[in-house]
């Protein structure tokens, strides 16, 4: 896999092997709370563990533990074998989708501390994401302040299915803290704060749930731009992870067109919406959702109109690709180097 030597993998998932590993990071109150509640796992159901999508072949640890929970196996498959020089880890443990905000804060803090000790400290090529209890914005800002001094955390983690659209001023204190600490916001697929997954209600099939993910992201992108987040926070970067990106031209065209006719509602926008998107938003590569027709894919990349937007990722351990590999299209060398590494270096601060 020499093509990926030196690449930075911007979306890799670690899993909490068992909730008890977090207990030493909890206060006595929360530890007892967890024990009294019979040690509930907060492993989410975004990828039901036995489905094909959840784990590519070979990524399930032999001892039956969760994919992404075995340090040695993950490091081998994500870094050593492909020759990647960096991987940005996020943990999707469901502290961000419970209702008790104090509990969310306790578990988020524990996950962040566990990630720092058991992953980031053990290999300098691993970078981390700060999980924040976004149910409560003050607690989220406090968690950012608590973790930001550890420079191995390179981004803040939010989820795509939020209770309010992410552009809403409700979230702005998080963006203010993110901008101040020069940390991008990663909006990762997942979440679920009570709104139906789709615009017309709840999906019947898991397939609809998975396939409707880009729809959430499209709504979030429109919200971030329309609410003026990038006007208010001019150096903020947002990374959409596992969103797909082949839908982006259609959305940019539509939003630009509507802005022309409707911009009295959003007078803070001084440029086309797509200009804000190209400046502030990045997209991890997997899943690529590419067409079978290679020319169509090349046309989509041209329609996106910028080499700066894509960030190489494998989305390990989720099974998003087969023999076509994680970068299933040809690019000129310069554009490819940007996707594999250069765009990540300009988006995150690696130390």
């Amino acid at each position: 896999m020499s093509r990926f030597k030196g690449a930075i993998d911007c979306d890799v998932h670690i899993a909490v092997p068992a909730v008890q590993v977090l207990y030493r990071y909890l206060s006595p109150y929360w530890k007892q709370f967890m024990i009294d509640c019979n040690n509930p796992s907060l492993e989410p159901n975004y990828y039901p563990p036995k489905t094909d999508l959840a784990a590519r072949p070979g990524s399930r640890p032999a001892d039956g533990k969760l994919p992404g929970s075995d340090f040695d196996l993950l490091r081998k498959q994500v870094l050593d074998e492909p020759g990647a020089t960096g991987a940005i880890l996020s943990c999707l443990y469901g502290a961000q989708v419970v209702r008790n905000d104090g509990w969310a804060a306790a578990i988020s803090g524990a996950v962040n501390d566990w990630m720092a000790d058991e992953w980031l400290a053990r290999d300098p090529r691993f970078y981390g994401s700060i999980m924040v209890p976004w149910q409560n914005i003050e607690m989220s800002v406090a968690e950012i302040e608590r973790c930001a001094s550890n420079k191995r955390f390179v981004q803040i983690l939010l989820l795509a299915r939020s209770e309010l659209p992410l552009g809403r001023p409700f979230f702005w204190p998080i963006y203010e803290a993110a901008q101040r600490h020069n940390l991008p916001i990663m909006v990762h697929a997942g979440g679920g704060m009570g709104n139906p997954n789709m615009s017309v209600g709840w999906n019947y099939y898991y397939a609809e749930d998975y396939l409707s993910v880009p729809q959430n992201f499209q709504a979030q992108l429109v919200s971030l731009v329309a609410e003026g987040v990038f006007n208010k926070f001019p150096s903020l970067k947002v990374v959409f992870a596992e969103s797909g990106f082949t839908w982006l031209p259609a959305l940019m065209w539509r939003l630009d067109k509507n802005w022309k006719g409707l911009r009295r509602e959003v007078p803070w926008l001084q440029r086309r919406p797509s200009d804000y998107i190209k400046e502030h938003v990045r997209f991890t590569l997997q899943p690529t959702d590419e067409p079978a027709n290679k020319r169509h894919m090349a046309e989509i990349l041209e329609q996106i109109g910028s080499d700066d937007l894509l960030l190489y990722s494998t989305d390990y351990p989720h099974w998003q690709y087969d023999e076509e590999g994680p970068l299933p299209f040809e690019l000129p060398a310069e554009a490819e180097a940007k996707i594999l590494r250069g765009n990540a270096e300009r988006t995150f601060t690696f130390s």
């Binding site: 959305l251 630009d256 911009r263």
Partner: protein, 377 residues
Amino acid sequence: MSQVTLERPRAARHGKVQMPIVDGDLHHYFPSDDVILKFLDPRWHDHHKKYGARGYQPTKFPTSPYPRSAGGGRRRDAAPPSGLPIGSDVDFFIEQVIEPLNIEYGVLNLSSAAGTCLHSGYDAAFARAANTFTRDMWLNRDDRFRASICIPYEDADLAVAEIEHWKEDRRFVQCYFRARTAQPIGRKQYWPIFEAAERSGITIGMHLGGLSAFPIGGSGWPSYYVEDHTLNAVNLQSQVLSLICEGVFDRFPKLKFVAIECGVSWLAPLMWRMDKQWKRLRSEMPNLTRLPSEVIREHIRLTTQPMEEPHKPEQLLQAIEHVGEDAIMFSTDYPHWDFDNPERAFQIELPAPLKKKILHENARKVWKLSPRSGSRA
């Protein structure tokens, strides 16, 4: 107000369109409440006056919660000299859009609350009034008009009855849903309607809007109309997804579904995502044996307005190819504010065979419309 100066796009001025046009989306209106009462079953008059069309939204202005400027979203210059409300004067309608644009057939979709009233008995009565009005005052006035049947789609029995009522009148070519349904459109509660439509040989038309039950993106309600309008494409993505995953077209193989006024180019990336992961997802749906894109290409059609405006004109041809040139049918959306004039809607001159498909050939197939004598093919 922002001080941004926008460049006028290099929209090609192609001059008057020489070929006949089938317009897949025109909006006529009731001229007044009195006219509604004339057509509404008297048993419902008192209900209409006291309760009216109650939907999900707590405010009652039309298009709640996102108000439209310019007279409910209608073009100011479409105001008829007669003084009737925009879109309600049939003579002016013919004079302003049907005649000048060489419209061979235009499909009328009544702008009203039909289909979205929580009280389905009233909704059914209103639909009957709407359809009778459409037949008497529009279809009978000019044979170029065709129409969608307004149906109370959240109550399948009542909706089927309405479809059955009109099945002898072949000028009703479609039954009419709004895009924000109470459940995903592929769900079983809607299947009797699909069966009736298939039996009648009419299409399912799904038009943006409908007073909504759920927020549009899985994450709460957007603040602004510019968001809501942009996300109509997301709305239809959910609906197409539901139709495919629920196997609607395997169950009703002759059925065609027309997405109206929701844009075009969003369909291609949805097909790609579905196809790419189908091998890993399909174990949940063992009855579905074909690739999603195959099913979509066979059964889903899109009207063009509001036409895509890519950043480079030649990208429009790419977008059409990605979706498939057989899927696309021209529409003006007259008299709404974002009306598309066929002389200016396409940023680039379309090759003649493609133009023919989009301007009338695809629509003639879907709605079984014969070329009119005197029409140039």
